[in-house]
Amino acid sequence: MKNKRMKLMSLLTLAAVLIGGLSLPSIQAQALSLAHPAPEKTILISTGAKELKHGAQKFIDNMGKRAIEFLGNDALSQSQKEAKFKSLLRSSFDLKTIGRFALGRYWRSATPAQQKEYNRLFENMVVRVYATRFNEYSGQTLDIGTFRQDGAKDTIVTSYIVPPDGGEKIKVDWRVRNKNGAYKIVDVIIEGVSMALTQRSDFSSVIQRGGGDISALLVHLRKQQ
């Protein structure tokens, strides 16, 4: 029994080696030619940059380039980088809209004073959260992909965060809103998970478990500052 199995296995191994050996060069050549498709050659003639057709694509590309420029600049101190990053965030994100969405239906039941405090705390939180995320920057690049229109004002721009060492890229979709001619980000969707929606789920659970009062959330937000 055991002998028979050994024989079968060695036979299979032999077959695999033979098939593998014979087809390896051709398949590898094919795979490699797939990896470097022909259009790359034409890039030598063109400018080398991918053409971005939509303004929202250019906006995201621009933001990524500016962020990478100072994040990868060793002449800047950590606090300088953070300050630059925070101002870039505040100018690129529509934090008021994101905050209002994250609060969902509890916005209406909040008093004007609570709304005001929430806005301030939420903005600070988002800026801080993203600043710490980007503190982990280690040479990644932002590769801009396709775009599509969603409604009258929104464009979804697909992009990929590409690690420098050939690791797996991360898909990031940006919901970019055109507000009176200026672009602002209203959601970031990472591998299908919307940051705004996850935050909304988190917040509404905190409020519901706190008896349906927004002050339960404000307590948490204040602690974070």
Binding site: R5, I19, G20, S23, L24, I27, Q28, Q30, A31, L32, L34, A35, P37, K96, T97, I98, R100, F101, V129, R133, E136, T146, R148, D150, G151, K153, D154, I156, T158, D165, G166, G167, K171, D173, R175, R177, V186, D187, I189, E191, G192, V193, S194, A196, L197, T198, Q199, R200, S201, D202, F203, S204, S205, V206, Q208, R209, L217, H220
Partner: protein, 254 residues
């Protein structure tokens, strides 16, 4: 082997009983993740299981995953991940067929052949370099494409977030996996459990940063994790079709 199957059945029965008991004590507001209503009748029980899982994670899974990351070069971890993914090929191809996804079936078959033969048994993902990317498929997704809803959200001990549909799918995939059947029929169960262990290690390492971020940046980790799980599954069910995955519509408040 019989003993194994018996204890496995017992585990499932205990779980089923626990969920039934837990369901008796609920009556609450519906939960929405985007347009999707999520049922979580076992929330109290689920929160308990999550707490248990967090405990196990803190003392065992996370430290081991961190040690693995620290002790091995990236190239090794990618090789192991590619290898494990390649072993899943039969299950992926089978599910794509059941979903009627012929293009996906062709892609996954091509991936399996290229990576097994030219990628040294799957440790190199040459197919992805060539533009045929890995696409995770499972029977939970297949059920979803057949119109089966999520069912109640459940947190499974050790395994983590799931739904009744997805956990049923997981059992089916595990049961019909040709590799498992082969190893069990040839008295090589050791390799099967080795592969399972390697899979857990690989997945926990892959999720280190994501879960870290979610834990750190949420007030109610349970609710945030539930939301993220449902959204991620939804994206996978739609095969990450860019036309369909764009997050929720965000109103214009002005």
């Amino acid at each position: 082997m019989t003993k194994n199957r018996f204890s496995f059945c017992k585990y499932i029965c205990v779980l089923a009983l626990a969920f039934t008991l837990a369901a008796c004590s609920t009556n609450k507001e519906p939960i929405y993740v985007g347009d999707l209503e999520v049922q979580d009748p076992y929330e109290g029980f689920n929160r308990g299981v999550l707490e248990f899982n967090e405990g196990v994670d803190k003392v065992l899974l996370e430290p081991v995953a961190r040690g693995y990351r620290a002790a091995t070069p990236k190239a090794f971890r990618y090789a192991l991940r590619n290898f494990l993914r390649n072993l899943k090929s039969p299950i992926i191809i089978g599910n794509q067929l059941l979903q009627g996804d012929l293009e996906g079936t062709a892609n996954s078959t091509a991936r399996m052949i290229i990576n097994t033969l030219a990628g040294f048994g799957g440790i190199l993902d040459l197919a992805a370099d060539g533009g045929i990317e890995y696409e995770p498929e499972d029977f939970g997704q297949t059920l979803a494409t057949w119109g089966v809803g999520n069912g109640p959200y459940v947190v499974i001990p050790i395994i983590g977030p799931s739904t009744t549909r997805d956990s049923a799918g997981m059992l089916v995939d595990a049961y019909v996996d040709p590799l498992r059947l082969y190893l069990f029929n040839t008295n090589q169960e050791g390799w099967h459990y080795g592969r399972l262990g390697a899979g857990v290690l690989d997945q926990r390492e892959e999720l280190l940063d994501v879960l870290d971020d979610l834990r750190k940046n949420s007030f109610d980790y349970y609710a945030a994790l539930r939301s993220a799980y449902i959204q991620r599954r939804q994206a996978l069910i739609r095969d990450e079709n860019p036309e369909l995955t764009a997050g929720p519509a965000i109103p214009d408040y002005e």
